[in-house]
């Protein structure tokens, strides 16, 4: 029986190999399609067709592979988001040749370096530079996205107007030297710019949940690449530094004045390019990293909670601790967002998802402790811009985490689709941008630029 159908088996095998080349169709999908093909073939054979005829009819009815593959791509855009993102729809030319792309990337990287160096030279005083640092680098990152995505002038204007407004606000406001509103503006302006970079990344389609999730994934991978580049760069610089020192040459002024101002912003642009160009490299480590760091972060949060409980009350803690805890919570949130973006939304609940819920729960507990501490401080010492900014951020985090926990419980119990949890994250993202913009634009005049 089997030998009779050897030709048919060979044909099906050949068909599988052909379908496998489509990046939008996964191995499991091919199994599913093959099951379908075999069902159709068996039914055709039952009506009296021979193997060859049955196979041809079945293949014909399965449809044009290009069209089917496009449908798969539309539904599973996460599987080939890099291609979809890099090459605009309808163009088959695969973008610019590699050398040209590299040249453009390097030009943007050097441009960012020159901008920062110019800032160092002309913007005297640390605070003025700190306020403008993000603004100096942003045009080059956004420019890279505008170039790769061939953005329309309308989208470019959508980026330019908020950018210009932010630049004006940050530089025209008469900040009191060393005041807290200035520090808050320095901390929150990059956040606004980063979400603006997200608009550029999404090619202007920032309303799309998929694009937002892609941007979250991009952010995580960018961080990984940037850290790798920074570590490698640091090792190189330190070795050169030591070797030259032995030879009697002091590299320090050059490192400070030239290497760092160019390397740090330049590495950001190069990392952004690497994320897109060498996608598959990080794609494989990312889920592993999130799985390693989720339990470790849970341990960290629980330790912090334990220490707070042992200290008994937080009313008299140093305010630096509160700011530090805010940073930790934001980091936890980034980890959560990134692990959600790296997860296959169709996979059933696993242990990792339960762990993630534990992480969210621990973060919620820490957030609740922080909120009580803050409210006590406010009740005792009154309002200050710092406290309002921290309180606002904590409330935003509380809402975000609480809803995420609620949806995660529903998902683990099989009541909800993972997509709902995903959608909540992406829908909530602009809230942070709005809050950061308020802190930068509204806080200084309200608090008299103190």
């Amino acid at each position: 029986m089997m030998e009779q159908h050897a030709d048919l088996e060979a044909q099906i095998e050949q068909w599988r190999g052909y379908v496998q080349r489509r990046q939008a169709i996964s191995a499991a999908d091919i199994d599913e399609l093959e099951d379908h093909l075999r069902g159709q073939i068996a039914d055709r054979q039952a009506t009296g067709l021979d193997d060859e005829e049955a196979f041809l009819v079945a293949i014909k009815r399965l449809g044009n592979l290009d069209a089917v593959s496009r449908e798969f791509a539309r539904e599973h855009s996460d599987r080939l988001w890099k291609q979809l993102v890099l090459v605009p729809e309808g163009s088959d030319d695969g973008g610019a040749p590699p050398w040209r792309e590299l040249a453009v990337v390097l030009a943007f990287a050097v441009g960012a370096g020159i901008a920062v160096k110019a800032g160092l030279v002309w913007l005297d005083g640390g605070a003025a530079l700190a306020r403008n640092l993000g603004l100096l680098v942003f045009p080059f990152l956004a420019g890279y996205f505008v170039w790769t995505r061939r953005l329309t002038p309308r989208v470019a204007a959508m980026l330019l107007v908020p950018f210009a407004a932010l630049a004006v606000v940050v530089n025209v406001y008469p900040f009191a030297s060393g005041g807290s509103t200035e520090l808050l503006a320095i901390l929150h302006a990059p956040m606004v710019l980063w979400l603006l970079a997200g608009v550029a990344y999404a090619g202007g389609r920032w309303r799309s949940d998929r694009r937002r999730m892609d941007f979250a994934r991009f952010t995580g991978e960018l961080a990984i690449y940037y850290i790798l580049l920074a570590l490698g760069g640091a090792v190189l610089v330190v070795l050169t530094f030591m070797a030259l020192q032995v030879a009697g040459v002091d590299l320090e002024p050059i490192v400070q004045d030239w290497i760092l101002p160019f390397a740090m912003p330049g590495a950001l642009i190069v990392a952004a390019w690497l994320v897109e160009a060498k996608q598959n490299v990080v794609e494989n480590i990312a889920p592993v990293l999130t799985r390693v760091f989720t339990p470790l972060t849970v341990v960290m949060l629980l330790t912090l909670l334990g220490v707070f409980a042992a200290a008994g009350g937080l009313a008299d803690v140093h305010r630096d601790l509160l700011i530090l805890m805010d940073a930790i919570l934001v980091l936890v949130l980034c980890l959560l967002l990134y692990s959600i973006s790296a997860r296959d939304p169709l996979a059933p609940p696993r242990l990792a998802d339960a762990l993630q819920l534990v992480l969210v729960g621990a973060a919620l507990a820490v957030d609740a402790v922080m909120l009580t501490a803050m409210l006590t401080r406010i009740a005792e010492f009154g309002f200050s811009p710092n406290k309002i900014a921290a309180l606002g951020l904590n409330l935003l985090l509380l809402v975000h985490l609480a809803r995420a926990a609620w949806l995660a419980v529903g998902f683990l119990r099989g009541r909800r689709a993972f997509a709902q949890l995903e959608r909540w994250q992406t829908r909530y993202l602009p809230v942070y941008g709005a809050w950061a913009a308020i802190v930068v634009v509204v806080f200084p005049p309200v608090f008299g630029f103190a």
């Binding site: 199994d31 379908h36 599973h76 689709a417 997509a419 709902q420």
Partner: protein, 120 residues
């Protein structure tokens, strides 16, 4: 009679969800049922069913489970979820409004009743 492509596309979701309320099925069996129900009038491009099923799964309307076929091969079975039943009820309501509007307009236009029979 061949049904227009847009009409097939519009009716695909409620049809698949409706078929799954009859019991869990795998892809090929769903298509056979569609063909049976429409007397062969609704011809889908077979391959297009799967992206649709995956979309319904992502929306949480159906859930899937890998099993094995009689021949011992991997086979993916689909089942409708409570959310899917809600969505189906919603679609049903929409379709009956469309169908009744069409029926009325055809009756007043004194058309031959033949096309209306297809909607019942």
């Amino acid at each position: 009679m061949r049904i227009d492509k847009d009409l097939v596309a519009a009716s695909a979701t409620p049809l698949v969800l409706g078929i799954l309320t009859e019991g869990d099925l795998y892809g090929y069996a769903i298509l056979k049922r569609v063909s049976e129900l429409s007397g062969g009038g609704m011809q889908w491009t077979d391959g297009m069913l799967y992206p649709l099923l995956h979309r319904l799964e992502r929306l949480g309307y159906v859930s899937s489970l890998w099993g094995t076929s009689e021949a011992g091969r991997r086979r993916k079975h689909y089942a409708i979820t409570p959310a899917g039943r809600d969505a189906l009820a919603d679609r049903q309501e929409q379709w009956s409004i469309v169908a009744s509007a069409l029926r009325q307009v055809w009756q007043t236009a004194q058309q031959p009743p033949a096309p209306a029979a297809g909607w019942a």
